[in-house]
Amino acid sequence: MSGFVLKRMGFAVITLIAVLTIVFFIVRILPGDPAMVILGDQASQQSIDLLRARLGLDRPMIVQYYEFMAGVAVGDWGVSMVSGRPVITEILKVLPATLELTIAALILGAAIGIPLGVWAAISRNTIPDYLIRLASLLGLSFPAFVSAVLLLFAFAIYLPWFPVMSSGRGTSLGARLNDLALPAINLGLIMAAYITRVSRSAMLEVLGQDYVRTAKAKGISFSAIIWRHCLRNTMIPVVTVVGLYLGILIGNSVLTEIVFNRPGLGRLIVGALNQRDYTMLQGMMVIYTLLVVVVNLLTDLTYGLIDPRIKYS
């Protein structure tokens, strides 16, 4: 087990380096000089040169690459060009709010999606199945900001149940939950749509297995078959897909945070884009990459918890 964990972690580090390298070069290859982007096209050549020197953009690409990677490794992600504070401090300040939102959304998505998917599968090709499939397809057709705007209008403005702006800084648990509710519901419902679909197809696959037929032949009750024989086996594809959908979840969390005006990585990145905070953007790319790699690692390790037949070797 520990050998496997080490191997997976080694692989995660390699992936991390690869993603950072690709992202680094994509940003550099794109036409458009960051110094010119920051200063605008009216800036004098002299000030552009000065800023280029300050950002280290005048040095050879390979040197820049080395310094970027070395900086990432030791936690020196540079200093924000707008606030003057270290990028990593700014990111760590809002990271908990984003994690809180995404984890709440995942829990909600699983709590709604898995039962619905299982229900659709066991009542395949009947009215509930059609309705659930249609609803989940509709759910994943919603751009996150559209559903967020509609939810905000319905439950914060028309029916003033929740705050229009969620500060994410409530001190008491109740205030925090109240802040979290609408954004988490928005993100959670979209996740539920994805999870419903995977759970349904995974369950359909399991229901066709020989051991399910055997269990039926032995006269085991239907609910026992579902609970004891099927659910666990359904979970592997569900966990895999949740890992794969992380990118969608992150993208949607950015939009959700903007609509609900909630602090988090989403508002940080949009602020950095608007203010042309180049170092901050670079740091944001590092943190997103880290999140993706860590979640993929966790997904891999979860398999063993769900399915003891998977031996880590």
């Binding site: 940003v27 209008f153 992380l246 884009l273």
Partner: protein, 301 residues
Amino acid sequence: MSAQDPAAEVTKVSYFRLTLAALGSGLIKAFNTNKTSWVGLGLFVFVCLLAALAPLIAPHDPLDQNILDRLEGPSWDYWMGTDAYGRDTLSRILHGARISLMIGLVSITAALLIGTVIGLVAGYVGGKTDIIVMQIMDVLLAFPSLILGLIVVAMLGPTITNLIIAIALTAIPPFARIARAPTIVVKEREFVEAGRALGYSNIRLMGGHILPNILPEVLVMGFLWLATAIRVEASLAFIGLGVSPPTATWGGMIREGFENILDSFWLALFPSLAILLVVFALNLLGDGLRDAIDPRLRGES
């Protein structure tokens, strides 16, 4: 076989006709397997028609500002009301459809072509090339596409061309994945083996013999990714990185509507419904077709 040889030309033409006919009948069969695909196709064609005819059927000029009629609710003159500049929402939605569909179609066509070639070649060549290329694709696939799109558009500037580049870039890896998987199966089949024995070149085998077999899966994925592309374009516009104002884009309209949501909620509502309609239609279409061509799900309906 020289290009002047008329007999060879005829066989070539009839060969392509045959493949096209097979593809066509296969598609119709797939549509019939899952009737919801027809509904999705109908809705999508309807939206495309509205977009194509926008200059003829739009009741007003989408950019025409009518300050006296600003922020009006739906009425006979303005079916979907007017925005903060007194522009007609319906006309802007019709014209916005052209932008959304154009950016979506061009970027996904580009991603489909590039991604398919990458996946096809990687799968066909195999070995180390395959491992390295697909590893790069997997790594890019892991990165959140909206964030990548955001950064690319922010660096290049928000023009239609740059939006197309950004969205296409994020959609290449999934097409490479989709194209590779069936390629490694099909390349082991007898007819490819036979072609190789006849001395056909690798390019001919890939383009003429393997490609037609993997095309249905790639095309189905195209519909689903077209839905994603339209969603991403709208999201970028909502964030403020869409085609610059005053051009009408759905995401941009929702953003403006969101700013006026307290007194004129319909401004955000109608473009939201428009995006939802197109994305849902494409998902219905692509999803139904995918069920139909997925061998694991065959015989389900």
